[in-house]
Symmetry: C2
Subunit: 262 residues, 2 copies
Amino acid sequence: MNVANMKPEEVRAMIRRNEWIKPTSGMANGYTQANLVILRKDLAFEFLLFCQRNPKPCPVLDVTDPGSPIPQLVAPGADLRTDLPKFRIYYHGELVEEVTDIVKFWEDDMVAFLLGCSFTFESVMLNNEIPVRHIEEDRNVAMYKTNIPCVKAGRFEGPMVVSMRPIPEKDVVRAVQVTSRFPAVHGAPVHIGNPEAIGIRNICRPDFGDPVPIKEGEIPVFWACGVTPQVVAMQVKPDLMITHSPGHMFITDLRNEQFGVL
Amino acid sequence: MNVANMKPEEVRAMIRRNEWIKPTSGMANGYTQANLVILRKDLAFEFLLFCQRNPKPCPVLDVTDPGSPIPQLVAPGADLRTDLPKFRIYYHGELVEEVTDIVKFWEDDMVAFLLGCSFTFESVMLNNEIPVRHIEEDRNVAMYKTNIPCVKAGRFEGPMVVSMRPIPEKDVVRAVQVTSRFPAVHGAPVHIGNPEAIGIRNICRPDFGDPVPIKEGEIPVFWACGVTPQVVAMQVKPDLMITHSPGHMFITDLRNEQFGVL
């Protein structure tokens, strides 16, 4: 089964039938995958404000109408209650369960947010022959808490989380250029070169994900990371929050290139 | 008095003292001006969703916390109740009053939206020596209702309003390029060339603003227009809505170039 060449609706149908309960990386190549955050309406406005004020870590691709599980903008034929391989259920900020659909958790006042994910800009980097170390090494990307404050919105506040990729010196300018084209999926880096300047003490010890080696002639480059909104939302301890499980993303009908601003 | 070279905070202080009750065009050159829409919180989430789904006509620059008149992101020293030369008060979608400050209208649950405005990309065009006809002729820009539907959000729906600028054939490509850099202020055009294709019957009869001549060798180019959210909001007939008066904009602390994505 060649999942790389399947269409998004085919992948989603397979996931809906519980025939694929694995990470989505490498599926429906060229199509944009997204992070999922679901909150009740009473928190949704503050969370949307938070995303609007912090577009680099929280690039909004779609927000559903309250009560509707249909992402009208990015996949009108999909259902967010069933079309991701795995979900996480949090009560009061505590992970209590991991499930393959959320039909029985869905409520009439829920609002689902789909946020851009770094898979998109990594595929753009690879298309430009810029190496992506954690893909080469088949690990999770290295992620760090920083001292860069997000802009507060209501109860939502906290530091930005970044992901790091070691980039060969000769490719750093190109990496800035090609990722800048995609503000809807984190866009340009937030920092180049000096981890301490953004509050990272030990580059070998990421706060999330796996460490990757930085080779001779490479520079650590940092991008705003989609883990940020989840970490921040967790601190608010919402009565109920639902997210995708890490790596088990939602696959949209839109191609990566359609998010290029130029 | 050289208002073009004044700093934004100087201009706003003058406006706050009611010493300038005129349009803001040409003031604090190089700094971004913004449209204002104020709604009560019960409509604010839907309106923010509408903007998020329709970023070309409704590019959000800042949204205040409910009850706060301070635009923290774009001008933390400003007060939106006093720092615009003229405001319009609408009850149930009807214009009832035009005032120079809204201190007595301000309520604890109000949310203010600052939306990008075409002044910014016009200055970018001028810097690239692309002529802007209505500026040359000292008229208001020509605006038209189209058959392009906005994406609905709750009670907010309606067609996109566009502004038209006649561009010399040789400059059309460059006009697309330079405005694409600024998605926060309407960005790239939505249509080039054929008014009928987007539902405009008579190019000589704009729905808002003034007609401008299209000369030999020029092509009409259409951009999404910031009048769209006001027209759409008016149809919802909110109990109370406050906006800037046309041309009497809010001047932010940010320079136009700071909104360039690349």
